[in-house]
Each structure stands twice: as structure tokens, then as C-alpha cells.
């Protein structure tokens, strides 16, 4: 897992950091602070960041893909699955 230090289009980006140098080809736009997969991850596979498990893949994730709510679930927090994947906006509270 790598974290984007700036907004990026589908393009090759340089990966820095311990044990992960090289280039990864982004398959979609990924924004600053968001994550990109450095390896293919099978459905149910663990997502590792900071050396710790931060969630599990809810579907297969290919190297170069944006890693977020649409393909990762928390072991604890179920409500986050209802949020808008791009904006994080709440969708499960009624306003009318």
C-alpha cells in the first residue's frame, strides 16, 4: 500500500519508502492522501499500512488501483460502508 503525496491521474508514479521503491502505474485518478495497491490483493486479503492490518479486501484489488471504501472493509466499523466513496458523505440518515 502506498499513499499519494499529491493528486495523480492514471499515470506512472514513483514509490518511495522502506522496501517499496519503484514505479507503479495508476489505473485511475488517485488524490492526495489516498492509497494505491502495490500488489494484487485477493478478496478477503489483508490490507497492510504502517506495518499493521487496517482492513480486508472486499473484492479483488489489482496493482495500481485506488484502495478505498469500495474495495476495503474495516474489521470493526460497518457504517463506513454506507458512505459515498468519493466524498465520504453520509447516505443512511433521512433528511425528508
Amino acid at each position: 500500500m502506498a499513499t499519494l503525496l499529491g493528486d495523480a491521474e492514471p499515470e506512472p508514479v514513483l514509490v518511495l519508502g522502506a522496501g517499496a521503491s519503484g514505479i507503479v502505474e495508476l489505473s485511475e485518478p488517485v488524490q492526495l492522501g489516498h492509497k494505491v495497491a502495490l500488489h494484487d490483493i485477493e478478496q478477503g486479503g489483508v490490507i497492510v499500512k504502517f506495518g499493521e492490518t487496517i482492513g480486508r479486501a472486499s473484492r479483488r484489488i489489482q496493482r495500481g488501483s485506488w484502495v478505498h471504501l469500495h474495495n476495503v472493509t474495516s474489521e470493526f466499523d460497518e457504517r463506513s460502508q454506507t458512505l459515498d466513496v468519493h466524498t465520504g458523505a453520509v447516505t443512511d440518515t433521512k433528511y425528508e
Binding site: L32, E52, I54, L69, V72, S74, D77
Partner: protein
């Protein structure tokens, strides 16, 4: 803030522990970096009058509790804040109907050798008379507090600094929080106290957390706090992660937790303290703010950032570091808030609000150690009287809520 407390540089920047500035010695032995008069209102009905008393008055700030029914947690919080090292006097203002007792607040504060007064708006005769009386009282107290202040030399060893994050994004765990953590290491090494809370943002980190405990007792406290947090979050089905966090790239509470925990630095955790309890000895501490079980079940934990800041300030933090990625425009009563961001875009976009850019660590312009040294210098400048940006902008946010928390008797100044 008065800029009359220049920092004296005895040694070089390489030895921040040797730097000193002038603070305010309180009767319990703690030292303040400000000398404020606090107006405390005891029910929402007195809120307007309390703010009108403080309006236009230098060094006078306001906090209060909105409820008519009282609450032990809220009372403990207000008593701790009224005797905070940065506070030199208190005016408690009530309407006259409510459960919370302004006379008791003033009595407890006056026993700490601070000037303290109280009145009921109903007894004084309404809005205008209460504002006039209140202004007269706070002016007298300010004059007395400034005249009688015991000015003393202080250093990093005398500081208790809190850290909180809000509006986190993917940079917070990579830059903002790690720089604060590296500063905390420096503070602890210099003999000071560092407190971070947000135990709800330790979900998923049980093993990582327990490894940091200094001894068996601390590890047992951390385990108990962790298990309580997880049980609480499962019960309320709400984890401490916001829409803005997700928009900023954080995907799970576990990921946010790892980033938030980075502000704890690398020194051993001495133990777990509760709200309104000063750390019993210097070092790194975790504050547990999660409500305990109660028949009414009230009390969201961390309903907003200001609530957590109030809790940290109640432990005697003279200043609090606030790490944001998305951007935040809050400040704090009593303790100046220092804004740190790991997001250079946010720093530049919200430059008027941001005190420190840790984003240079991500671009490689600055090393983590250099950034922590620079942050340390900034903290000492603010401690010496330089206003932080939120402070200069006039931010004085506060939040006192209903909550139930089992806690030891309220005793202050027990740094044995």
C-alpha cells in the same frame, strides 16, 4: 496576550530543555503560561450575560454548561478548568433556577488562592445589571490577579502539553502526527508531561498499544481502556471517523487509528488518566475520555474536536497541539491551541489559521527531527507569550457536555 515574557536563551537551540521563560506560579505548584479571568456560566439561560460580561475585556474568557440538570462529569470539568494553571480568577454566573451551583464553583476556586465571585442573574436584577456587575467584578479580579501574580521561571519540564487531531486525512498519520510524536519525545525527555487522548482512535491497535506500557500496571490500564472503548463503539455503532476523513483518503478506523497513535511518539506510556485528573508524574500519558456505563446511557464520546480539547485542558495542559489534514478553524479557551498540518495544500490554503507546516517532511524538505525541533521552538514561544494563530484570531471555543465517567475524587496539584 501580553508579550511581556521574553524567552531567555541560556543555551543553544540544540538544548531546548535549558530554555526558560517567565510564567505564573499557582498555589498547587503548577505554572501557567497565561493569566486569564474565566467567566463560568452554569446553565444556558446565563450564556448571553456571561459572554456580554467578557465582551471587549482583555484576558477574560468564557465557558459554561448548557444543562439545567447538573452532571458530575461537567462539574468536575468546570472545577478543574477554573483552577487551571493559566487561570488567575473566576466569576461564576447562574440564572438562579438551575441545579449546577455557581456558589460552590466560586468557593472551590477561592480555596486555590485565586479571586473568585459568583451571582445569580435573578437576584442581581436581570441582564443589564448583571452585565455591569460582572464587568466590574472581572476587572477587579484581573487587576488583582495581575498585581499579585507570582512570576517564575519555567521551562519545558514545567509544561503539560496535549495533542489532539481533527479533520485528519492521509497526511496526518504520515507527517502531522509523527512530528507531534517526535516533539512529545523531546518534551518527555526534558522532564515535561505529554497527554494524548482519543482512545476511540486506538480501535484495532490493542497489541501496539499494550507494547507501549511502561510496566504491568500501565499495560493493565491500557488493556482495560482499550476493551472499554471497543465495547462502547460496538454498542453505539459509531466509530470515531468522519466523512471528511474518508474524503481525505482514510478508508478504515484501523487506518485512522494507526495515524492518530503516531502522535504518541516513542516513549513509554506511564498509564491512563481520566478527565480532570492531572498526570500524577511527568512523562507520556493517555487520557481516557470514553463514558462509563450509566443507567441513562448519555454521553457520546468525542462528539466533536472541542470536547476532546476540553478534556485535555482539564488535566492541566497549558497548551494543546492540534493536528489537522483537511483543515480546522477551532481554537480553545484557557489553553492556546497550536495548529499543525501535514498537508502543505491545506497549510497554504488556510495559512491564517495554521501555525506549523509538517508537510515539508513528506516532500523531503525537512527531516522529521528538524521539524520536531522547530515545533518545539514554536511551543516554547507560545508558552512565553506569543499568541498562537487561533488565539490571535480570537478563537475561544469550549464544549461542556453531559457525560458519565467514573473517576477518583477531584484533587489538583498532586504531582507527587
Amino acid at each position: 496576550m501580553k508579550g511581556d515574557a521574553p524567552m531567555t536563551e541560556h543555551l543553544t537551540a540544540s538544548n531546548p530543555a535549558a530554555r526558560t521563560w517567565t510564567g505564573y506560579l499557582r498555589s498547587d505548584g503548577r505554572k501557567g503560561i497565561r493569566n486569564l479571568i474565566l467567566v463560568i456560566y452554569t446553565v444556558e439561560c446565563a450564556q448571553h450575560v456571561a459572554h456580554a460580561i467578557a465582551a471587549g475585556e482583555d484576558e477574560v474568557q468564557v465557558l459554561g454548561f448548557p444543562g439545567c440538570y447538573d452532571n458530575q462529569y461537567a462539574v468536575r470539568l468546570m472545577l478543574a478548568l477554573g483552577r487551571h494553571p493559566n487561570v488567575g480568577g473566576v466569576l461564576a454566573v447562574g440564572l438562579g433556577c438551575e441545579y449546577t451551583r455557581p456558589d460552590k464553583i466560586a468557593d472551590v476556586v477561592s480555596r486555590s488562592e485565586r479571586p473568585a465571585h459568583w451571582f445569580y442573574i435573578q437576584s442581581v436584577g436581570g441582564t443589564q445589571k448583571s452585565i455591569e456587575k460582572g464587568k466590574q467584578l472581572v476587572r477587579e479580579m484581573r487587576e488583582r490577579s495581575q498585581r499579585d501574580a507570582r512570576r517564575v521561571e519555567m521551562s519545558l519540564a514545567d509544561l503539560t502539553v496535549g495533542a489532539e487531531c481533527g479533520g485528519s486525512d492521509g497526511t496526518s498519520g504520515l507527517a502531522g502526527n509523527p512530528v507531534v510524536g517526535a516533539f512529545f519525545d523531546r518534551l518527555v525527555d526534558a522532564g515535561g508531561s505529554a497527554i494524548f487522548e482519543e482512545t476511540v482512535e486506538m480501535v484495532g491497535l490493542r497489541r501496539v498499544l499494550l507494547e507501549r506500557g511502561v510496566d504491568e500496571r500501565a499495560r493493565a490500564q491500557l488493556a482495560e481502556a482499550y476493551d472499554k472503548v471497543l465495547g462502547y463503539c460496538k454498542e453505539v455503532r459509531q466509530y470515531s471517523v468522519s466523512p471528511g476523513n474518508f474524503a481525505g483518503g482514510l478508508t478504515t478506523i484501523e487506518e485512522k487509528s494507526m495515524g492518530a497513535f503516531a502522535k504518541g511518539g516513542s516513549r513509554p506510556i506511564q498509564g491512563v488518566i481520566k478527565v480532570a485528573v492531572p498526570p500524577p508524574r511527568p512523562g507520556l500519558w493517555i487520557m481516557h475520555t470514553v463514558p462509563d456505563p450509566h443507567f441513562m446511557g448519555f454521553g457520546y464520546t468525542n462528539p466533536n474536536d472541542t470536547e476532546g480539547i476540553m478534556d485535555l485542558v482539564s488535566a492541566g495542559c497549558q497548551t494543546v497541539l492540534f493536528v489537522t489534514g483537511r483543515g480546522s478553524v477551532i481554537g480553545s479557551v484557557i489553553a492556546p491551541l497550536i495548529k499543525v498540518t501535514g498537508n502543505t495544500q491545506t497549510y497554504e490554503r488556510m495559512i491564517d489559521d495554521m501555525d506549523f507546516n509538517a508537510g515539508t517532511v513528506l516532500t523531503g524538505e525537512t527531516s522529521l527531527d528538524d521539524a520536531a525541533d522547530q515545533l518545539c521552538q514554536l511551543v516554547m514561544r507560545v508558552a512565553a507569550g506569543e499568541p498562537s494563530k487561533p488565539e490571535a484570531l480570537g478563537h475561544r471555543e469550549y464544549f461542556v457536555m453531559y457525560k458519565h465517567q467514573e473517576a477518583p475524587p477531584l484533587t489538583l496539584g498532586c504531582r507527587a
